[in-house]
């Protein structure tokens, strides 16, 4: 198992796409915050990006099989961390998500997302049948279910939901049978009222104001409305760098993280959005291509797990900005300001790099 990997094997296209997205993000963060008290955020973001890049390279050097070997251990670490944060975690913005490490608050659930990708990949890779049996499906569900419930308790609905596409995509690629899929969908629909009951009031409010935006804007309805105003008023060409009145004057909430796409849409217009979404599409397709060229199923599952997570992030965040989905706390990968989320993305990409690097190795 010796690897000789040359630099040529790094996925330079992927790196280029990522770099472009990161750059867009930094520029837009700068533009949205330079005139206000939040000035300087872009520098912090650059710091995270640099650390991220470094970690990405580090993670890509370790054979992913070694990592996946440790899946059970990692799983236990993840669960423990989730329990720990529930017990002793720092409450911020009304949720217990952070553990202070190295002077910064790190979101535990971001780490757990990574762990679950690895764990699920290992699980599905070990399925020997061509079709996914019901038994295996249920086992996979449980594997995901436990951390999901723990994350929900924080409460962090958005992150909890990210685990679902990982499971779904993994199961799909592992040979999920249509009949099982149908039953699950049915159960899911029936469970909606139950799920609704368990939602916290503010989460319920987000959904209702999403469904009925015409009702007088309150709370998150106001946020989405402001986001749409910003996006819509950007028009095709945008208002120009630094000229987005809605984001500059503070009308878009958290314009540097959750709603960064709104700020970009306002300033760069549709043409800018086209570029940004084009880049994300390129990113995701590139990831799929890497999965298609992976050496083994294990690598494929790993890469597709990452793809599922990132794809879900992009979809949910952007849909929220245009008012097509309720407000969640999901950031836009690599563009939204935020340390933990950014690190997660880089580590995940690191795994992908890992798989790609070893595709010719035997």
């Amino acid at each position: 198992m010796n690897e000789t990997t040359g630099t040529r094997d790094y996925d330079w296209w992927l790196l280029a796409i990522i770099a472009a997205i990161c750059a867009l993000g930094v520029v837009e963060i700068y533009s949205a915050t330079h005139g206000s008290v939040l000035v300087g955020m872009h520098s912090k973001q650059i710091r995270w990006l640099v650390i991220g890049f470094a970690l990405m390279f580090v993670l890509s050097r370790i054979d992913y099989h070694l990592i996946m070997d440790q899946a059970p251990v990692l799983y236990i670490i993840g669960i423990s961390a989730l329990v720990a944060v529930l017990l002793v975690g720092h409450t911020r913005f009304g949720a217990k998500r952070w553990i202070p490490i190295l002077g910064e608050f790190l979101q535990v659930s971001e780490l757990v997302k990574l762990i679950i990708i690895i764990v699920l990949a290992r699980f599905f890779a070990e399925v020997r049948t061509d079709e996914l049996s019901l038994q295996d499906l249920i086992k996979a569900g449980l594997l995901v279910g436990i951390p999901l419930v723990l994350i929900l308790k924080q409460p962090d609905l958005g992150t909890a939901l990210v685990l679902m596409p990982m499971l779904i995509v993994g199961a799909f690629l592992a040979g999920l049978q249509w009949k099982h899929a149908a039953v699950i969908i049915l159960i899911g629909v029936l469970m909606l009222p139950v799920g609704w009951h368990f939602l916290k009031p503010y989460q319920k409010e987000r959904v209702t104001s999403f469904l009925h935006p015409e009702e007088d804007a309150k709370g998150s309805g106001y946020q989405v409305l402001q986001s749409k105003i910003a996006v819509g008023s950007g028009g095709f060409w945008g208002k120009g760098f630094g000229n987005g009145s809605q984001n500059q004057l503070g009308y878009i909430p958290v314009r540097y993280s959750d709603f960064i796409m709104a700020a970009l849409a306002e300033e760069q217009g549709f043409k800018g959005v086209l570029v940004a979404l084009g880049l994300y599409m390129a990113l995701l397709l590139r990831l799929v291509q890497n999965a298609q060229r992976a050496k083994d199923r294990a690598g494929m599952f790993l890469v597709m797990g990452v793809t599922a997570a990132l794809g879900f992030h992009v979809l949910v965040n952007v849909a929220m900005v245009i008012g097509a989905m309720p407000v969640t706390g999901i950031p836009l990968p690599l563009m939204s300001y935020g340390g933990s989320a950014t690190l997660f993305v880089f580590l995940a990409i690191g795994l992908v790099m890992n798989v790609r690097l070893r595709r010719f190795v035997n």
Binding site: Y222, S233, L249, F270, Q292, D296, M304, I322
Partner: protein
Amino acid sequence: MSYWFRNDNRLPQERLAAASYVIVGMITLLLLGFWKLQVIDSDKYGVMAERNRVRSIPIIAPRGRMLDRDGRVLVDNYPSFSVLLLRDDMAAVEKNLPAIADGLGLSLDDLKEQLSNTGALPKFQPIVIKPEATQGDVAFIESHRADIPLLEMLMVHRRRYLPGGFMAHASGYVGEVSEQQIEASNGKYRPGDVAGKSGLERQYNDLLVGTDGMRRVIVNSIGKEVGRLTQQEAIPGKQIQLTIDYDLQQIAEEALAGKKGAVVALDPSSGEVLAFVSRPAPDPNDFAIRVSKEEWQRLNSDADRPLLNRVTQAQLAPGSVFKIVMATAMLEEKVPPESYTSFCPGYATFYGRQFKCWVYGKAGHGVMDVHNAIVHSCDVFFYNIGMRMGIDRISKYAKMLGFGAKTGIDLPSEESGLVPSEEWVQRVFHRKWYPGETISVSIGQGAVIVTPMQVAYMIGGLASGGDFKQPHLLKDAQNVGDRRISISDSTVEKVTQGMYGVVNEGGGTAAAIKLQGIEFCGKSGTAQVIGENAKTRFGKGEKKFNNNAWFVGYAPRRDPEIVVAVLVEEGGHGASASGPIVRDIIKAYYDKKAKKGQGQTTVELKRYDLDAAPKAQIVERAKPTVKPEQAAAAVEPVSAKKPQPE
């Protein structure tokens, strides 16, 4: 470490390809979403973005002031702050309402009611929640700009009137426009605008009201002004100069203090109104902000009717003042002829009933001709000539002399009184006129009713030889109406001699008030409110059954310069209750005229003559703004031209 999973190279290529399609589809859908917002609906959001960040704040135009005939300020403005509530974010409004009510000292229920009343207005339009902000309110608003970004302050000009209801019925008052006014104005008025509601404020509202300007500012999401766009200055309203003479007005106001009645003084040669008082009167300063419902109801239901403009709206029996009309009618119609005399033993008998003269119980008047009948105000004489003339002749001259119709003064809601006639009683009561009713009318009782304005107008026009100028309060008015009647000079001479005798001859009903060196003429009137018998039976001592006291006086005897009509309700005897007031005003008028002739300016006012030492002027200007309490004592002079010795 399972060997198996490392080497399992079964890759589900179709499903992986499917994943790619899903990705492309997803991105495309998102792009479509953006397309809709940014291209299709771009304008709509552009407007909303603009509205987000640009706020239009009106600059309220100051209303034109009112000055008296000498240029002294009677009605002015002062700056004050209104508190506006911004309703863009209704959730925030509801959340913060208790805090706002508490901080500004308002009732939470009133605020809630106001919010629901204005629910139909567009959300970006703010509403006035407190018309008069105190220093504390301003501090509260400023300090809570971040956590309660819903309050804005608007500087407005408020009307300031002289205190205590001085000239209140002439000036009228302003208030917020009513819904009907907004509808009728075709978009000129918005809710919260101030317009004249009564009196001159209403009559000349179009002149007085300016045009509001607009200030457009950029605000950030907490409502703080961060930039300025355009500013359109307000155009102030035009100032109007009235014909009112402050000095005469003050005498009249003091004379009626604590009483119910009216005083109107005018110059019949021009129609200019020199003094105009109706008491009791509300203080329009109270109205200038907002009248509470209770206060308004109290004023409306007050038995003394402070909201009634008695000068133009009190329609009462004129009593003996009407005898002037009777005398004029007799002399013009020559029915009976000029030499007619009647004998008054204190009463007269018609249709088997006894009609008393006012001297009944004392000696009768004896033989009376028309001149003496006026001087002594003998009822019997006028009963007799009334019966001979008949109601229609009386009615004709009453109308000719201006009764039964509006004088046309430039104030809203003038009443026209009533002059009865055959035609009138037929039309309204569907019966014929009873001759006995003529008897009451002959001495100014019965169905005939007049306003104090009409009385002054009538006497002034008559003594001017039948030339009736339209009374008006706006100085230098254009198109002043001039109504002339055909009346013989001998009639005018005879009647005016009679009125001269009332004051200046011994035994005249107003001999007590004659003035040295001034041809002061007049006629008293004591109008009964209820019959004498009834008064004796029910109303002994009850003030409200007292007679209404009229006196109308003027000078000089022919082509007068000043006519003053005074009515004191429940005042008792005309000459003694109202006469002295007329005398005082006319005396003041002549005193002022004399002083002007000598180069001085006014009678009582301590006003710096512009020809006096300049140092005194500078001290005057350094004084702080006149407080309302001091206004009566030191009204600041605003003269368009230097006063010239006349």
